[in-house]
Symmetry: none
Subunit: 195 residues, 4 copies
Amino acid sequence: MAKPNGISKQELIQYAKQCLVEKGTEKFTLRAVADTAGVTQGTIYYHFRTKEQLLLGIVEDNCETSWQEISKSNTYVLKQAIASAKSRCSYDSFFHQLFILITAASFKNDKIRYQLSEIIQAENQALSENLLKIWSESPVKGVSMDTWGIMFNAMVDGLAMQALLQKDFPVEKVYQELEQVIGVLTSFGKKEAIE
Amino acid sequence: MAKPNGISKQELIQYAKQCLVEKGTEKFTLRAVADTAGVTQGTIYYHFRTKEQLLLGIVEDNCETSWQEISKSNTYVLKQAIASAKSRCSYDSFFHQLFILITAASFKNDKIRYQLSEIIQAENQALSENLLKIWSESPVKGVSMDTWGIMFNAMVDGLAMQALLQKDFPVEKVYQELEQVIGVLTSFGKKEAIE
Amino acid sequence: MAKPNGISKQELIQYAKQCLVEKGTEKFTLRAVADTAGVTQGTIYYHFRTKEQLLLGIVEDNCETSWQEISKSNTYVLKQAIASAKSRCSYDSFFHQLFILITAASFKNDKIRYQLSEIIQAENQALSENLLKIWSESPVKGVSMDTWGIMFNAMVDGLAMQALLQKDFPVEKVYQELEQVIGVLTSFGKKEAIE
Amino acid sequence: MAKPNGISKQELIQYAKQCLVEKGTEKFTLRAVADTAGVTQGTIYYHFRTKEQLLLGIVEDNCETSWQEISKSNTYVLKQAIASAKSRCSYDSFFHQLFILITAASFKNDKIRYQLSEIIQAENQALSENLLKIWSESPVKGVSMDTWGIMFNAMVDGLAMQALLQKDFPVEKVYQELEQVIGVLTSFGKKEAIE
DNA sequence: TATGAATGAGGTTTCATTCAT
DNA sequence: GATGAATGAAACCTCATTCAT
């Protein structure tokens, strides 16, 4: 019964994340979080005024994580981003399950919903900038770089969602062919914008 | 006190759908469904053995709806599909909210999860066939028509998710530019497959 | 979906008995009985005004069965009765489970309780008479034949209850030794009553 | 609104026992227990994870009570045990009603069933030892002391069950005559074992 | 005669939240 | 700071019973 006293907000959030994915939205109870963290429910209430505050904490944390990754990936190139996306594209993806679960919860919580949109827009922006690095300009006339970022991000999330549902989703094949498409677009971009 | 109102399973499912989107996963209670439908909770249990069965009923219903639309869209062309996707791409989209909610629920229910994957694969397939009609062959060498279907569907869902979260998501702009991209790909496909 | 119309009260009681033992008091619902009998709940209400009436029907039926066996066993001798008791002395004994279940229910239903007592007294009486046949008079002075009947019946039920609870209850051994005891008492009875 | 009344598991079990006998299996609801104990239903669930656990708690409690009595009775003699059994042999016996109710419940719960069998076997054992004290050896050849314990216990339970059902069961008479029988057996035992 | 849709009261259970310690 | 006993509202679910057909 060793009591590792002094649990931090941050730690609680990590445990809560774990719980959320392990138990799903339905069974995501404060009791479960407390058990996972090895503390009592009272302790959670010492750190978060309500359950909603805890959920918000999770989202904020994800937000920060995302920002860090994005700023990192700014220094790398697109390949890195794709590799990362591919690795998260699976039936058991913690990351995307969490995202879907929070998205589902966000429909009834405007604050969370807004934060999620901020995260996504930052991702879109970062992707757009990365694409610019390898394309220098949009390979298709009339399609802005912003839109390429949006579409790229949408594609990655959309594929992830399919993989999340379909056990034998052909991740390898699809990502390989997706890179093919990007390659072709890149080669056009380098020649001239296509009308 | 039995009043044979004559409510059908189908009607209950419709009311349940309405409830699910109006109240969100968290507040999607059988009492709420019962109230919405104007029956007692017992009545729901007469038609569905558990809440989960009701949820499954909703999914199955969506499945059938999807199938019908897909078989319809086979006779139409891709433009139709895009228009439909665009119309569903909004901050308040009942359709996509329901989908996300069910997806979230599916993580803890393999049966639902499997059914969802079936729906998606059917959509992918239908899209692939429609693309073939206007492309006759894949515009990018090494990218199978199946993959085009998958990617197209992923894109549509990904965009919808963004629109769901971001109030001022530029639906018009993005879809217009997406069509631009498709147009370009089509023109390539008509010349020759690109290496 | 062949509907064997015209189910009788008697048949319903048999199905109800089966249900009671298969599902236990707790899950002994009219729905379960109806399902077992292949009819609807309404049908049960056609034959029995309430659930209690059905339970009473079961008890009455058992009563009649008992009477029949008792009057039969009057013609046979004690050995028969013992063999029958032994065969019913097991971990899975339908007969005794039913008896315990009904006894439990009887605590809140005086009518049932009274009927059960009538059954038992009849059994006691029959046993007493059978003992008289082989003993001609009580082998122990001061112990009436009525009491022997009561004690014998109590012993049989008590052993059955133990067997009902204990998986490896040594039925064979105990009954063999019980017969030994009876044998000894009999031999005394034949010599002279013991003081 | 948390009022630390400080109700203990033990107390809850006592209240539950009271409820069980007062209301019978059918009406043995957690609401009733909560009301009797003066707490809310939630409180019960704080102490017992399910209703079944509470029932198990009752059984375990009875188990311990039995053990205590048994170990006590080891120091006393058989007369004590008989007197105790007789006092519990009545139409309203809390003790035996509880036992029957739990036995009925045990048919659907192997854990409870097993515990009951353990209690009974301990009783059998204790009785056998006590009989040995006054008999020194089995008064009937071929009948082991273990079996005497089993039979004695069965007799006591069987008589109790009859008394439970029959309002005017002749407790006094039967127990007096039962002691007579034991006396006779004892006197044999002292002479020599009977063949 | 029998059915099956519907009811409503009440059961067990869960859970965010409170508060004395 | 942290705990854990307690709450109470509300969730899911069951079931005897009713009644139009």
